[in-house]
């Protein structure tokens, strides 16, 4: 028996202008795949090609094994036949229709019949109070929720989300993120999530495709891509840090702390999290929240000390240097060059990484599939 087809397999070329040519070849599995890169890296063009709104010069696109485009076989399904859900950055709700008619557009206009019910989607995205309103009377966050619901109800085989939070301010973003997390857990639809915001990517994505100048610079689990030194110029625009997969080991109710397990030897204690024991999640440890010590610190107020060894050093801006430490998982620490020299930090050197418990907040958490 054949292995199940990947959620997405794309290998395309498209010349957009004199200077920009997109040439991307990658596969994405189930769950959430982040398309990450700076503006102009070709993220939106790529998802438009998957959706059938932009025609590649050559190549092949398949979703769940179904070929949508193949220049050699002369296959080019029109957008309406692709079953590719698209949540646009600017939502694009139909202004002359009520929210209900917008949500059900895929059914009455597109003749799509999916297993998902309107009630289910309304519960998932909390849309019930909005159903009879018109898009002009919705807030930015509500508009995006309706747009997500509309795409889901059109029975997509894959859901493309093109920076759905980019047009929202900070509080609105935080209003939507929990919905996206729920969507990921409950809908079962593979998602391609375009973003240039690392915070969102870490919270939502399982895999990451790093784009640079129209080309794929790296593909892989986001823990790997974010810790690769050679990709720092591309991933490092956000504040330097490492993404670490952990598991909830237990809660200490008296001290309101939760213990997270990186490996059986490497544990972190963080402020109490509302997650069940055994839950898998990803945390982001910012480099500036991790300090290094040659001896195990005693009598200090920090709870989290991880024994490890220096793997690599990478110059950072100004007087700093980022040190990649193997402490059960690779984590970054930002220290001054002066300290690094005084401590004699070099690959292989045994060190203790000290992590501030308060460094792990809600925003740096992502539920791992």
């Amino acid at each position: 028996m054949n292995a199940p087809a990947p959620a997405l397999h794309i290998a395309v070329e498209k010349r957009l202008s004199e200077r920009i040519t997109i040439a991307a070849d990658f596969q994405a599995g189930d769950g959430v795949t982040a398309l990450f890169g700076r503006s102009g890296a070709g993220k939106t063009s790529l998802v438009e090609m998957i959706a059938g709104l932009l025609r590649p010069d050559r190549g092949r696109i398949a979703v769940q094994g179904r070929v949508l485009f193949d220049s050699q076989a002369r296959i080019d399904l029109p957008a309406e036949a692709r079953r590719v859900g698209y949540v646009f950055q600017d939502a694009r709700l139909f202004p002359h229709l009520t929210v209900r008619r917008n949500l059900l557009y895929g059914r009455w206009a597109g003749r799509r019949r999916g297993a998902l019910k309107l009630e289910t989607v309304c519960r998932l995205l909390d849309l019930d109070p909005l159903l009879e309103r018109r898009p002009g009377a919705l807030s930015g966050g509500e508009v995006q929720r309706v747009a997500i619901g509309r795409a889901l109800l059109a029975d997509p085989a894959i859901l493309l989300m093109d920076e759905p939070l980019a047009s929202l301010d900070g509080p609105r973003k935080n209003e939507i993120l929990p919905f996206l997390e729920r969507l990921k857990e409950e809908s079962g639809v593979p998602i391609v999530y375009v973003s240039h915001a690392m915070e969102e990517v870490i919270r939502l994505a399982d895999q990451m495709v790093l784009l640079d100048g129209g080309r794929v610079a790296a593909v892989g689990p986001i823990e790997d891509v974010t810790t690769r030194l050679d990709l720092r110029p591309l991933t490092g625009r956000y504040e330097a840090g490492a993404v670490v997969p952990v598991r909830v080991e237990g809660h200490d109710e008296a001290y309101e702390l939760t213990t997270l397990l990186i490996t059986p030897e490497a544990k972190l204690q963080v402020p109490r999290l509302k997650l069940p024991v055994g839950a898998a999640l990803r945390i982001r440890l910012r480099a500036r929240d991790v300090t290094l010590s040659l001896t195990r610190p005693e009598g200090a107020s920090t709870l989290n000390v991880l024994a490890g060894a220096v793997r690599e050093l990478a110059p950072a801006e100004g007087p700093f240097v980022d040190v990649l430490v193997d402490a059960g998982a690779p984590i970054w620490s930002r220290v001054t060059r002066l300290s690094a020299d005084r401590m004699g930090l070099a690959p292989g050197r045994a060190v203790y990484a000290v992590v501030k418990a308060g460094a792990i907040d809600r925003a740096s958490l992502g539920r791992a599939g």
Binding site: E80, R83, R92, L93, A154
Partner: protein, 234 residues
């Protein structure tokens, strides 16, 4: 009813309304197609088409009427075919008045529709396609509603033009009471008769009122439609 107008005057008014209504009904689909070709089409001769559509706006109406007479007269190249194949006669018939009104109002209608077509949000159309709607459905459910204000405005402008059309109509289908004597032509005729002043004035008042009503209605309808489209009204 109708004591304030003589039967002859009523006849002229009713005929004008009939001619203008038919002219709008016939030219609306054509104007939509033409506006579509001008706004979305990429074909050689687009500029030429644009020019031809606008000709009736610039040509002397008498010239337009005379050209219609040559083409659509009983012996004309198009008129002959219409007569032989479809049994439709337009020469010196009220149908000819409809044709003249439609031609004269056509540029107004095309312009109004094309303006709103240029303003249609094509990103909405792309969104509709990703939701499974084919080109025809996208047009009916997304594009057309956005075109509505422009179509209403264009239709009413063309209607008002049709009610008042004079030059092309009288040249093409002459002045036949009950058949082609529309409002404007009736006013002209009354002015030619010694005792026709009172009737001419009554019809003139009606013409002014009709035009004003059309203008106000087009304004109101277009405003309402555009509010609906922008999603503020239920």
């Amino acid at each position: 009813m109708g004591d304030w107008l003589t039967p002859v005057e009523w006849e002229a008014l009713a005929l004008s309304l009939k001619v203008a209504s038919w002219s709008v009904a016939v030219s609306l689909p054509l104007a939509l197609a033409t506006a579509w070709a001008l706004s979305r089409g990429r074909f050689p001769g687009r500029t030429l088409l644009n020019g031809v559509v606008h000709l009736p706006l610039i040509l002397p109406p008498v010239v337009t009427g005379y050209l219609l007479l040559i083409a659509f007269g009983a012996q004309g190249p198009i008129g002959g075919v219409l007569q032989d194949v479809f049994g439709i006669s337009v020469a010196f018939r009220w149908t000819g008045a409809v044709l003249a009104a439609a031609v004269m109002g056509f540029p107004l209608m095309v312009r109004a529709i094309r303006l709103s077509l240029d303003g249609v949000d094509r990103r909405m159309e792309a969104a509709a396609r990703t939701l499974g709607a084919g080109p025809a459905t996208v047009f009916a459910t997304v594009t057309l509603p956005q075109l509505l204000p422009g179509m209403i405005a264009g239709a009413i402008l063309s209607f008002a033009k049709g009610v008042g059309e004079f030059g092309a109509t009288i040249t093409f289908v002459a002045n036949i009471p009950g058949e082609t004597r529309t409002l404007s032509i009736a006013i002209y005729s009354f002015l030619q008769t010694p005792s026709g002043d009172a009737a001419a004035i009554r019809l003139t008042v009606i013409a002014v009122a009709l035009s004003m009503a059309a203008l106000v209605a087009s304004e109101l309808l277009a405003r309402r439609a555009s509010r609906r489209i922008k999603g503020f009204d239920a």
